[in-house]
């Protein structure tokens, strides 16, 4: 396929993915908006006013970047894992497999589709946060770059999960038992400076900590970790998971008999 045909195929997959999550917006876009509004009210306004400052900022200001990032992570992951598993389950993956679309285009299409939902929800949550606090973006490039790369990374994670999943339970296990705990412990609600030294060290093994803190740095200008290292790590994980996801597609794992 030449470049024009590849582009058409890529756009087709992305549009199909965007059409899917916007068609079921009550399931995909509304719940995170409600959940995050509740976080803003309860943790930001009600409890946050008693906590005082965190990292030199109002508690509400401090948690907003983390909550935006949490939405991006869970929605990017959730979009691809449910969409690609659904495609496998309903067997309409065969529509793609019989066509000449190369595997890297299939992967890119799903990942950008997932990132689109993650970023879309992130945008909605950002707009909602403006009802509760003023957002002054400290470093626009870092803010945009880190949120985009994180959405891509977790879309890739969702894709790999979907390839391995055989039942609907399998697509819920990773988000529930791995992703949510890592996100909650990834510095969304607190600075790791508050933790004892040992737990600070343990926290630094959590990759989500680096994404949340990089994003917070982009918005507030404060971070618990080194931004350069965080970027290197995110890009490294993208290359690793991207390569692995492509390998799975090339070998037909979970999709070809």
């Amino acid at each position: 396929m030449n470049t024009r045909l590849l582009w058409t195929a890529f756009v087709t997959i992305v549009v199909k993915e965007i059409r899917r999550f916007t068609r079921i917006w009550v399931q995909t876009l509304l719940p995170p908006a409600i959940t995050m509004t509740l976080y803003f009210i309860i943790f930001g306004n009600l409890i946050g006013s008693r906590i005082g400052e965190m990292g030199g900022f109002d508690y509400m200001e401090y948690i907003v970047p983390g909550l935006i990032m949490m939405s991006v992570i869970t929605n990017s992951y959730g979009n691809v894992v449910s969409s690609f598993f659904g495609t496998k389950f309903q067997r309409n993956i065969e529509e793609l497999l019989v066509s000449p679309v190369p595997n890297w285009i299939i992967l890119s299409g799903y990942v950008i589709g997932g990132a689109a939902r993650g970023l879309g929800v992130g945008f909605i949550v950002t707009l909602l946060s403006l009802f509760f606090t003023d957002l002054q973006i400290h470093h626009l490039f870092i803010t945009i770059a880190v949120v985009l790369l994180t959405a891509i990374l977790f879309s890739l994670g969702g894709f790999i999960n979907a390839v391995y999943a055989k039942t609907f339970d399998d697509i819920a296990i990773v988000p529930t038992f791995i992703l949510t705990p890592l996100t909650y412990l990834g510095g969304v609600f607190y600075s790791i400076q508050l933790l004892p030294e040992f737990w600070q060290g343990v926290s630094q093994l959590n990759p989500i900590l680096y994404m949340v803190n990089s994003f917070r740095y982009g918005i507030l200008g404060v971070s618990d970790i080194d931004i350069g290292f965080a970027f290197a790590m995110i890009i490294g994980f993208i290359l690793l998971l991207g390569g692995y996801a492509l390998h799975l597609l090339n070998t037909g794992k979970g999709i070809r008999e």
Binding site: M1, N2, R4, L5, L6, T8, A9, V11, T12, I13, V15, K16, R19, R23, G86, T87, Q90, R91, N92, E94, E95, L96, L97, V98, S99, P100, V101, P102, G252, R256, E257
Partner: protein, 310 residues
């Protein structure tokens, strides 16, 4: 003449050790309307799955219009349209979106895809349903939707895996007309079906696969000539007193005014009718007991089973 599909020594062993294909070889010529028949589990869907990249082969060679699927898969896929046995579209998507999206996977832009989709959906009587969700369609409409989707990139080779399963006879016949039309226009068609009447009336060449091996691969005409004996049902005007006998024919009574007669091809029907007329029996109507291909198919598969058991 270019070979539309060439399969050489194709083997497939599934992960559980089941050997679905035991080294089959097959050629389908360009422009052919080819039947691939076999009992359930014989290896038909595995063969077509490998050709359409849905199943990984264990060994062997497959090429589509000269494009080896190991080295020129993209080109091979461009030539191929597949209508699977089971519904495999997203039931929550609209009919038009399903067809246009499939076109996009072949690099066809939205404008051209929509024009082609209109053409094929109109041809298949689905244009009025274009904005319906696919799950709202009847079984026959869903089958036609899969045909429209498979044709959207105008493939040279169309594979139809039981396209008329569960479709009523009127609709089945209209689908036969449509398939005959696109075959006449140059599309090579490979058909699997359990309706042997369908294969007999549509296909020029045939392969029968059983237990992962090809047990027949010939023209439909040559295959039907192998049929030694045909069984006919004769309806009589009057009730029978006794079952007539005639050398060379096996005549049985089904009920008081119906006979079942095994007619050897060498004997023909004239002697039978003369004999019945001499006995004062008037035949009001006559029909084959079973489709001719069906009789052959059953006998070939039985013979293969006995050989395998021996």
């Amino acid at each position: 003449m270019t070979t539309a599909l060439s399969i050489q020594d194709l083997r497939k062993v599934y992960g559980n050790g089941f050997e679905a294909l035991k080294g089959i070889s097959l050629e389908v010529q360009r422009g052919d309307f080819f039947a691939l028949l076999g009992p359930n589990g014989a290896g038909k869907s595995t063969t077509l799955g490998i050709v359409s990249s849905l199943v990984n082969k264990s060994s062997g060679k497959v090429s589509v219009f000269g494009h080896d699927i190991d080295t020129r898969l993209t080109q091979a896929k461009q030539c191929l349209g597949v209508v699977p046995q089971e519904f495999n579209f997203n039931p929550f998507e609209k009919v038009l979106d399903i067809v246009v999206t499939q076109a996009g996977y072949y690099g066809i832009g939205r404008k051209q895809a929509t024009e082609r989709a209109e053409h094929y959906l109109r041809k298949l009587g689905l244009w009025e349903k274009r904005n319906e969700r696919a799950r709202m369609l009847s079984g026959g409409m869903k089958r036609r939707l899969m045909i429209a989707r498979a044709l959207i990139h105008e493939p040279k080779l169309l594979i139809l895996d039981e396209p008329t399963a569960g479709v009523d006879i009127e609709l089945r016949r209209s689908m036969w007309d449509f398939l005959t039309e696109i075959n006449a226009a140059g599309t090579t068609i490979i058909l699997t079906t359990h309706y042997l009447e369908e294969a007999e009336s549509l296909c020029r060449n045939i392969a029968i696969i059983d237990h992962g091996t090809i047990i027949q691969n010939t023209s439909m005409k040559a295959l039907l000539q192998q049929l030694d004996t045909e069984t006919f049902i004769l309806d009589l005007k009057e009730d029978l007193d006794e079952v007539p006998t005639l050398d060379g024919y096996v005549i049985r009574s089904r009920d008081a005014h119906t006979l079942e007669v095994d007619v050897p091809k060498s004997a023909g029907l004239n002697a039978l009718f003369q004999h019945l007329a001499a006995k004062g029996l008037e035949v009001t109507s006559m029909r084959n007991k079973a489709n001719r291909l069906e009789e052959l198919f059953v006998s070939l598969v039985d013979k293969n089973l006995k050989q395998e058991s021996a």
